[in-house]
Symmetry: C2
Subunit: 273 residues, 2 copies
């Protein structure tokens, strides 16, 4: 059995106000943060957790998030650095379906898409304040269409990348071990169906990817959830769970959107193993 290895794929950055990162705390002012994907090369398949944002979608439909993404920071660009192609990916796991976590789904035509069943349902029928967050579902024309029928934002123009046709799904709920040592852990609240990810490796401490349950270390240290959320009470439970999981597994925490930490991490073409 070949050893599991993990690679972080730089997807560029966004900047939002401090009050959106730290609910009711701020301080105000732009915070620029990274967006990245996690590639897991595993005996049982080639997995991607989160797929970043689509630059054209952000520039066209999402005002104010100030995207910065070079060609090198697109998924095709990152795969090229590794000598791989997106077509090799067998499974795409979306922590959730917000624009900066599923915007690259369309690059994976052969993948099985794994998503929390409640997340998919919410993306079809989002709250008013979630519509922009769920505006980039073009990887799945049916899902995108249902979302539009409910009154979400206008469809994105056909992008530069191919749009997947009728992606295959596996809908999940509860904690799920999707491959040996690759565990999806429910951390709800930020969105209806949100998963953090734990990956166990032979040569280092387990890696615990928080997803947006904790964007930065301060979120966890101060028990402040992010400004964007569907259920703040569940969001606090998720912070508590992350603390508990980190202790239980002696895991290293990888926050979803914190530049100081991201700058110190190993990134493509390097691997964690």
């Amino acid at each position: 059995m070949k050893p599991t290895r993990v690679c972080l794929l730089d997807g560029g950055s966004l900047a939002i106000d401090g009050y959106k990162v730290y609910w009711n705390r701020g301080p105000s002012g732009d915070i620029r943060f990274p967006v990245y994907s996690v590639l897991i090369d595993h005996e049982e398949g080639l997995f991607v957790y989160d797929t970043g944002y689509d630059l054209q979608h952000m520039q066209t439909y999402v005002s104010g998030d100030q995207p910065l993404q070079t060609l090198d920071q697109t998924l095709p660009g990152q795969f090229q650095k590794l000598g791989l192609v997106p077509e090799d990916v067998t499974h795409v796991i979306d922590s959730h379906l917000h624009i900066d976590h599923c915007g690259g789904n369309k690059h994976f035509p052969n993948a099985l898409f794994m998503v929390h069943e409640k997340e998919y349902a919410q993306a079809v029928n989002p709250e008013l304040f979630e519509r922009m967050s769920y505006s980039d579902l073009v990887y799945d024309p049916e899902l995108h269409g249902m979302n539009l029928e409910r009154g979400s934002v206008k469809p994105v123009a056909s992008g530069s990348a191919p749009v997947a046709v009728a992606p295959k799904y596996q809908f999940l709920s509860g904690d799920v071990e999707v491959a040996k040592g690759v565990k999806l852990l429910e951390t709800l609240g930020h969105s209806a169906g949100h998963y953090s990810l734990l990956v166990e490796l032979a040569g280092r401490r387990p890696m615990l990817f928080t997803g947006d349950a904790a964007m930065t270390p301060r979120n966890l240290e101060m028990m402040i959830i992010g400004g964007f959320h569907l259920d703040p009470a569940k969001g606090v439970r998720a912070l508590e769970r992350l603390k508990s999981l980190a202790a239980e597994y002696d895991a290293e925490l990888f926050y979803s959107h914190s530049m100081p930490e991201f700058e110190t991490w190993r990134k493509a073409p390097e691997w964690y193993e």
Copy 2:
């Protein structure tokens, strides 16, 4: 039967960041807003809806809300302008139990306290992010004590005003007509059990007091809930309900915390009738 009349009691002001008034929208920067009580002189009793904040509590325990309150803006000061005393009040209705809506409850030793049953339960066992909001429950030593046991903020020192002993409660749920033409209307989301108030008068359009379901006109016009909330999805339903109620009753909307509107309203010692 004597005609109902309504008087707005100025309770001073607070200032908080724009992101707290307009969730994830801002813009940032201090917004100073009024805090007021609604006195309803009715055939069936003398009612008060909301009792503002206690200056000493705010100055001692709540950092950053910048309270401004003259002696004239305390409840005893406002009652004096009307030639009334707080002891005459028969019913205190709390839209909810946040510090700036129940801080004057202790001034009403003879009142029956009407509060949503879910609000009382939440005040006993608040979420982490609600603890400061529910920190001024000294009017009810038992409630305050239960709250403290659950780990809320430190007790306020004995204030300058007398503390009510064992207040009598009527716990409510659903819409309730507490007196003829005085209706409590459920508008949940900002807090667990939140009531807006409709008062029908002989000589003018009904007055619809939104409470914190809509702090300002912009909240309603733009369908933006406030930054402080327990359940944002219910908060949006409450905004929709306020719009619908205003149309149904042809009511004039009185927002809880909007200075431009407050400045144009009639206030004690003047009455609406």
